[in-house]
């Protein structure tokens, strides 16, 4: 009698459908996956260690490079953690601007996910539309910060500078345009027979298991758990806005798709409310040790000049202590744990990266499915390795 034999297949790290440098070792019985083992670490840049040697302000650009597809959503988490440690409050206008940027970043993350996820499963068209609209956000980023992908627009104590009229105009245009684009996305996929066949009942996970695996974000909500940090622990004025938390039922690839699609609408609602009700006022804290004095003051006031010099050359000190601050990133609960030692750089920074937990669920989700589904499952989790490997 012939012996049943499995073969081992190495997927990644350089595989276009692993969204970066994820490597999954698959053990196959014919076309069925009997075991999947994710390997990580190919994109390790030592971000947490680097942070120990930079001042608090200089760490912000590092955080852009965690989940680089939605950079501002990382910036906000880090800045809030530092501000919690330093015990400072950010002016309302800056909070709103941060909210707008963070939600736009969620758009960028979800658009990248949508385009590549569909592409992986064979729907080529979607990515062109998703990237057409993503370009609008890139332009908004560029307008306000000069950078398209990694804006680093936030500062400890506020944002770098006030919004320009052009920025507000561009955001309004986007808010007006996007519902039409979204319905276009839906036409392409939501009731598409191939799409539903490839995604329904694939990689399903129950609410309980999802919680046990530490899943957060859209991947958790698709299983029916309405946990969203923006609602559970509101930050940066999110409680001023009216929005809903979309949840799914089955926790499969299709539900994860639907939840993210609905999140487009909810994020758009937040941006709309924020841009229309943008409060007047400063965009930097008035704390003299932290708020960067404006260049116009520096030209005629020695105290502003000296403080700007000190704040930028040396950086403000944070007191001794530990804080944890979580925000709702595009992929889930993104947390920053900081230990301050009284100096101008953290003693330790630890990032709770949602994608790490998502990747850890890969063996559970893939086992028993066909090899072609592996790709649908990775795509639906929307892991970004920049964040896992750090």
């Amino acid at each position: 009698m012939a012996e049943a034999k499995t073969i081992t297949l190495n997927m990644g790290p350089h595989h276009p459908a692993t969204h970066g440098v994820l490597r999954v070792v698959l053990e196959l019985d014919g076309e069925t996956i009997v075991k999947a083992t994710p390997h990580i670490g190919y994109l390790h840049r030592g971000i947490e260690k680097l942070a120990e040697h930079r001042n608090y302000q200089q760490i912000i650009p590092l955080t852009d490079r965690l989940d680089y597809s939605s950079a501002s959503a990382n910036n906000i988490g880090y800045c809030l953690a530092v501000e919690k440690l330093m015990g400072i409050e950010v002016p309302k206008r800056a909070q709103y601007l941060r909210g707008i940027m963070a939600e736009l970043a969620r758009f960028m993350g979800h658009q990248l996910w949508l385009g590549t996820h569909a592409l992986d499963i064979g729907a080529m068209t979607v990515i062109f539309y998703a990237f057409r609209d993503r370009e609008m956000i890139m332009k908004i980023n560029e307008e306000i910060s000069g950078y398209r992908l990694t804006p680093t627009f936030f500062r400890i104590g506020g944002v770098a500078h006030d919004a320009t009229d052009e920025f507000i105009k561009k955001v309004r245009e986007f808010v007006k345009w996007f519902p039409k684009a979204l319905s276009g996305y839906h036409t392409l996929l939501t009731e598409n027979k191939i799409w539903t066949t490839r995604t329904m009942n694939i990689g399903a996970i129950t609410a309980k298991e999802a919680v046990n695996y530490g899943l957060t974000g859209p991947s958790l909500r698709a299983s029916g758990v309405a946990y969203d940090v923006r609602k559970a622990f509101p930050y940066s004025s999110y409680d001023d806005f009216d929005f809903k938390i979309p949840v799914g039922e089955n926790g499969d690839v299709y539900d994860r798709y639907l939840v993210r699609m609905e999140e487009f609408t909810q994020s758009l609602a937040i941006i709309h409310q924020a841009i229309e009700n943008l409060p007047e006022g400063p965009v930097q804290t008035d704390n003299p040790w932290i708020g960067n004095p404006a260049l116009s003051d520096v030209e005629k006031d020695i105290s502003a000049l000296i403080r700007r010099f000190m704040i930028n050359a040396k950086g403000p000190n944070a007191p001794q202590g530990e804080v944890y601050q979580a925000v709702e990133g595009a992929k889930g609960e993104l947390g920053f744990y900081l230990v301050g030692d009284g100096s101008e750089h953290p003693y330790r920074m630890k990032v709770r990266a949602p994608c790490f937990y998502l990747a850890s669920a890969i063996p559970r989700l893939m086992t028993g499915h066909m090899i072609a589904d592996a790709i649908a499952i990775i795509g639906s989790l929307d892991v970004v390795l920049g964040e896992i490997d750090r």
């Binding site: 704390n287 003299p288 040790w289 520096v298 030209e299 005629k300 006031d301 020695i302 105290s303 502003a304 000049l305 000296i306 403080r307 010099f309 000190m310 050359a313």
Partner: protein, 345 residues
């Protein structure tokens, strides 16, 4: 011993100690600006004011001696407010120079302004420009950065005993002037104690930034005193010399050679090969050739005129070991006591 209370803490110190020193002794940090460890109290900046129980007005702690049973408070709202006022007064006419100031990054004034979180000091230009002449061409005086703390004047008079500069004028017109340029020895003592960038060195101006430089502690190569100094190094080039207050016999002082005589280190005219003079002109030679020639000539002279016809001068820029070997060579190989060294003193 005198016993007193500072911020509620009992302390006893020898008679004649100032309140500032007594406080520093138990780790209480009173802000100071004109006070300098090596100088007698000057009392020009009024930052170190403290309250003494039973006395209405605050006193400057740098020059008030302790008294038995005194109760001193070093921090209070009134004191803080007064210090802010005093600091703002100092800043009122201060040039907006930090971006081009050599001191920026290690400036006592910057540190104090940031420590106090000073805001809103609109710049008011001086009605009368101050004169920027100075007693030596090695140092530039920036009158608009000068805060009139008088550390420089005191250091010149008290540490060096010279008195080449003095303070002159009142109020807005006050400035440092040259008392007698003839007696200035360009030692740079004033430069060392200046808390701001009001005195800068002309040779190294704009060549470095404190946070970009590497600082290398070393011994001055000029004479046998062995003063300790720090080389400021940028991109593997020595761009200047500073001193550390607590280091070595010199405790921060240097003479003109040590402080300003460093440019030879990177000079293009330095020898890189042995040279032999032939027909009045030097030509490059190999080490073997040069050493052979020296050995041959020295032997010839010794044979003709005896060892005492030869004398040797060695250099303080060599190491001790090299100098030891040199005198050994002169005495044991050549056979003469004609050997000398600039660090003999």
């Amino acid at each position: 011993m005198v016993s007193l209370k500072i911020d509620g803490r009992e302390v006893s110190v020898p008679e004649g100690t100032t309140i500032l020193k007594a406080a520093q002794g138990i780790g209480i940090d009173i802000p100071t600006l004109c006070y300098h460890k090596r100088l007698p109290p000057i009392g020009s900046c009024n930052m170190c004011i403290v309250e003494i129980r039973g006395q209405e007005a605050p006193v400057t702690s740098c020059n008030t001696p302790v008294e038995e049973g005194m109760e001193v408070t070093t921090e209070s709202e009134a004191l803080h407010a007064q210090r802010v006022v005093n600091l703002k007064k100092i800043l009122k006419h201060h040039a907006l120079d930090c971006p081009i100031c050599d001191k920026a990054g290690e400036c006592d004034l910057q540190n104090l302004v940031y420590r106090f979180g000073i805001t809103e000091v609109p710049f008011e230009p001086r009605k009368q420009k101050r004169d920027d002449s100075y007693s030596t061409s090695l140092i530039r005086y920036w009158p608009e950065r000068c805060i009139m703390c008088k550390r420089c004047v005191t250091a010149c008079r008290e540490i060096k005993g010279i008195g080449a500069i003095e303070a002159s004028g009142e109020g807005d017109d006050a400035r440092i002037v040259v008392a007698n340029a003839e007696i200035c020895r360009s030692c740079g003592e004033c430069l060392m104690v200046c808390p701001t960038g009001a005195l800068t060195e002309n040779l190294s101006r704009f060549k470095g930034r404190p946070w970009l430089e590497k600082r290398v502690m070393t011994t001055c190569p000029y004479c046998g005193c062995g003063c300790q100094m720090e080389l400021r190094v940028m991109e593997n080039r020595v761009i200047g010399v500073t001193t550390k207050l607590d280091a070595g016999v010199n405790q921060g002082s240097l003479c003109v050679k040590g402080r300003f005589g460093y440019e030879f280190i990177g000079d293009e005219d330095r020898l890189t090969d042995p040279l032999i003079k032939e027909n009045g002109a030097f030509r490059k030679a190999s080490w073997d050739e040069a050493l052979d020639l020296v050995a041959q000539k020295l032997s010839a002279i010794k044979k003709e005129s005896g060892p005492d016809a030869i004398g040797g001068l060695s250099s303080a820029k060599c190491t001790n070991e090299e100098n030891y070997l040199f005198q050994k060579f002169m005495r044991a190989v050549i056979g003469t006591n004609n050997v000398d060294h600039c660090a003999r003193l």
